[in-house]
Symmetry: C2
Subunit: 286 residues, 2 copies
């Protein structure tokens, strides 16, 4: 990698744990590919307030990626938040603009980009979102505000989480929002109505890779499915979808694009997406 | 240099300006030479309190070098300070020990090491210190507490600064302290009495390299002189000393050893002094 100079701008991921993060490898490879005077580090953080106060004072600390468990808490410690991210209630990115910290999220836009790069049309389509946690919130708000779906249906086993997200989306977007418990019968009905399925729960993630919320027979050709889980890259959900001729988009694509969008906010230049994809693939390939 | 990992420990210099600092080049070369999982950055900082609060929160932010204008202010924001550095009233190093910040100074020990590595015996000798600013305070306290000189004589054109340092040294060391205005007559007397001369003012620093406080005829063989100015590496003061057969020690040596001592506090391992010297020489050679 490029050597550090006194002019080098610094970016970093903060979270706890951060030991398994791919972000330093991805962003440093991208900086190197474009010969940018940036470096990307990883910091283990519990006290997110003081970490962000420090970022403000360390003047060339340009950008942060914020991960678990700090995505919601970080909103309270920045100086400005993009309106959609305030509605989502979480951020994964902080930009230090001459001592003013701007918070924003790239998880929703990363999912949207993964879908649009795969030629999936969202406008006028019915979207089913499985899960109502942080990722579901980010993706539902982004799609609801920017992609003009006909409707978004939410399903989750937790009624409080689901009802709150449904109410927030109804208030915060122009999209028709439906919300239902995640039962076999209602899932079958929802799958039948849906053009696009976005899986936003941890089910199927390594090591419990056999688990899957949607049995293969519920898929039908013409649908597209995005699974935000990316370990493994091809989840059982995606395998089930493919077995029925459904377009299956891996969470790896969303992961790459959320990082690419962060990179563009850090540096102001287009991300070298293929370089970033290659680093991710090298690390995740079985 | 070695690539950044999530386990990489971070060190940095903070100050304003930091653009001309050699510290990133020196420390990164030393980390690389020993294949240590560390990286060293430079941060422009005005708000030293929040920079240090951030260091505490960014848990693997292991070490800081503190430079102008923050050496005194930083004392107020760390959790503990070495006793001698509290007496000096300034620090140039902060170690983050699991969220507890320890402040200390390596300028005085760096000067002491430069003298001892040059085989200069301080014990029982008369030391003349020209100047009474931050560097003079650090060196006088370190020598007074650790090197057993017969006496330290202070000379400075600023009587308040000089009298305060003399009083602090008398209270804080067992060494006999003399203090005099910097006049031609008194300087000649002091030079006649002194075995070791340490120049701690900016006089002779680039670009006004012809300036010099001590005319050549005042030196006498058997003396040793250390000039803390290191741009140029051989000041007019050192040239004058050499012309009289006096042992002349460049401020570069003190600069290298203060960095080496920081490195050892950051990493816990012996500093590769020759690697660090080579980097400094490459940058400073005319």
């Amino acid at each position: 990698m490029r050597s550090i100079k006194t002019s080098t701008q610094v970016c970093a991921i903060i979270g706890n744990p951060v030991s398994h993060s791919l972000s330093p490898a991805i962003h440093n490879a991208a900086f190197a590919a474009l010969d940018l005077d940036f470096v990307y580090l990883a910091f283990r953080v519990e006290d997110v307030g003081n970490a962000l106060a420090g970022m403000r004072a360390l003047e060339n600390f340009r950008g942060m990626s914020v991960t678990i468990p700090h995505k919601m808490e970080a909103v309270r410690h920045v100086d400005a938040v993009e309106p959609v991210d305030r509605q989502i209630g979480a951020i994964n990115t902080v930009i230090n603009d001459n001592g003013k910290l701007l918070g924003l999220g790239t998880d929703g836009p990363g999912a949207l980009k993964a879908l649009s790069e795969a030629q999936v049309t969202i406008s006028g389509k019915n979207v089913l979102i499985l899960g109502a946690g942080g990722a579901a919130r980010a993706i539902a708000f982004t799609l609801g505000q920017q992609a003009h779906p006909a409707a978004i249906e939410l399903m989750d086993i937790n009624p409080d989480l689901r009802n709150r997200l449904a109410a927030d989306l109804t208030a915060g977007t122009d999209t028709l929002i439906r919300s239902n418990p995640l039962t076999d019968h209602l899932l079958a009905q929802a799958m039948d109505l849906s053009d696009i399925v976005i899986h936003c729960t941890p089910v199927g993630m390594h090591p419990r890779t056999e688990a899957c919320l949607v049995p293969a027979p519920l898929f039908r050709p013409g649908q597209a499915v995005l699974d935000i889980v990316y370990t493994p890259m091809e989840t059982t959900l995606l395998k089930n979808a493919k077995s029925r001729g459904v377009q299956a988009i891996s969470g790896v694509e969303m992961f790459i694009y959320q990082a690419a969008l962060q990179f563009e906010r850090f540096t102001g230049v287009d991300a070298p997406v293929e370089v970033m994809r290659q680093v991710v693939m090298e690390h995740l390939r079985p």
